[in-house]
């Protein structure tokens, strides 16, 4: 399984992402700089990691979405490729139009750096196959602009097509307003493309893949990916 991690100026979570990917796949991912104009032959998965690409200038992810490699990533997604965007990567996917909606400033205006809980709203996808429907897991979040917004029509479509992957929740799975710390519409933490191959989410499952990190809550995402991509 060949994984490419795209690195933009200001990306800073590519190494933790690489650790999680290597742990699951047994191979080091390829780190690809944003100026590249082609993905390596045989790429199975493209990951856009977290960080503050281009200093969050203009809007989070707006500059990265226009960088040369993103045209290739969009073409790869259009051909049915798997693309995972975490945190800034989610913002970039929305800015690039690969996922709907946008990430606004947190409703509290505070940068949120803490663990959160998420409920798996759509099991059985390449990213969530190793979780049960409704399972609750923990992941760190670290963002200032994670407040997902889509207009009424977009939200209705995501719900009707069952494309909400994760919702912020209490440890017991209740999707309360208190658990929705950044103010995202409908507690949305992560969404999928209609073909279920593009996923964006704000929290960082890659940071809980080893007991030494404090937990393995995020590991199912990576083992799911390995399984679905190995069999593809």
């Amino acid at each position: 399984m060949k994984v490419v991690v795209v690195v933009f100026p200001g990306t800073n979570r590519e190494r933790d992402m690489a650790i999680a990917l290597e742990r699951a796949t047994g191979r080091k991912p390829v780190m690809l700089f944003h100026r590249e104009t082609a993905l390596p032959q045989g790429t199975d998965l493209v990951v856009l990691p977290g960080g503050f690409s281009y200093g969050d200038y203009l809007r989070c992810g707006a500059m990265a979405a226009q960088s040369p490699i993103m045209r290739e990533v969009a073409a790869f997604a259009a051909r049915g490729g798997h693309v995972l965007g975490v945190c800034n990567g989610f913002q970039i996917l929305c800015e690039a139009g690969l996922l709907p909606g946008a990430l606004l400033r947190n409703a509290s205006l505070r940068f949120l750096s803490m663990d959160c809980h998420m409920r798996v709203e759509r099991a059985g996808t390449p990213y969530t196959a190793h979780w049960q429907q409704g399972a609750v897991f923990r992941a760190p979040m670290a963002h200032g602009d994670g407040n997902w917004f889509g207009d009424d029509q977009t939200l209705a479509r995501l719900k009707a097509e069952n494309l909400v992957a994760f919702r912020y929740c209490e440890p017991d799975g209740r999707t309360t307003q208190a658990a929705n710390r950044n103010g995202a519409r409908d507690n949305i933490a992560g969404i999928l493309s209609p073909n279920l191959r593009v996923l964006g989410l704000m929290p960082h499952p890659e940071d809980y893949v080893d007991p030494l990190m404090g937990g393995t809550d995020g590991l199912p995402m990576f083992t799911s990916l390995v399984e679905s991509l190995a069999s593809a």
């Binding site: 946008a102 407040n147 207009d151």
Partner: protein, 79 residues
């Protein structure tokens, strides 16, 4: 010619920044301030000399990059 692109959060989109500014104004003792919305202004120096064409160009730039029309609206002025 110069073009000014005004980018504002769309009506109905939460603007926590504007809200915080409103609260701060209240704290300073300014009474009677209703809703506060915060946006940005982007100034462009364009080679184009025809006002209509310059405006159309700046609008295209706003649609493609300067504004995210999912959450923001924009208005262009040329001078």
């Amino acid at each position: 010619m110069k073009a000014r692109v005004y980018v504002m959060p769309k009506a109905g989109v939460l603007d926590p920044q504007g809200k915080a500014i409103g609260h701060a104004l209240e704290g300073l003792g300014f009474a009677g301030v209703g809703e506060v919305r915060a946006g940005k202004v982007i100034e462009l120096d364009l080679a184009e000399t025809d006002p209509a064409k310059a405006k159309a160009l700046a609008e295209e730039m706003a649609r493609r990059l300067l504004a995210n029309t999912v959450i923001e609206s924009f208005r262009v002025e040329v001078a």
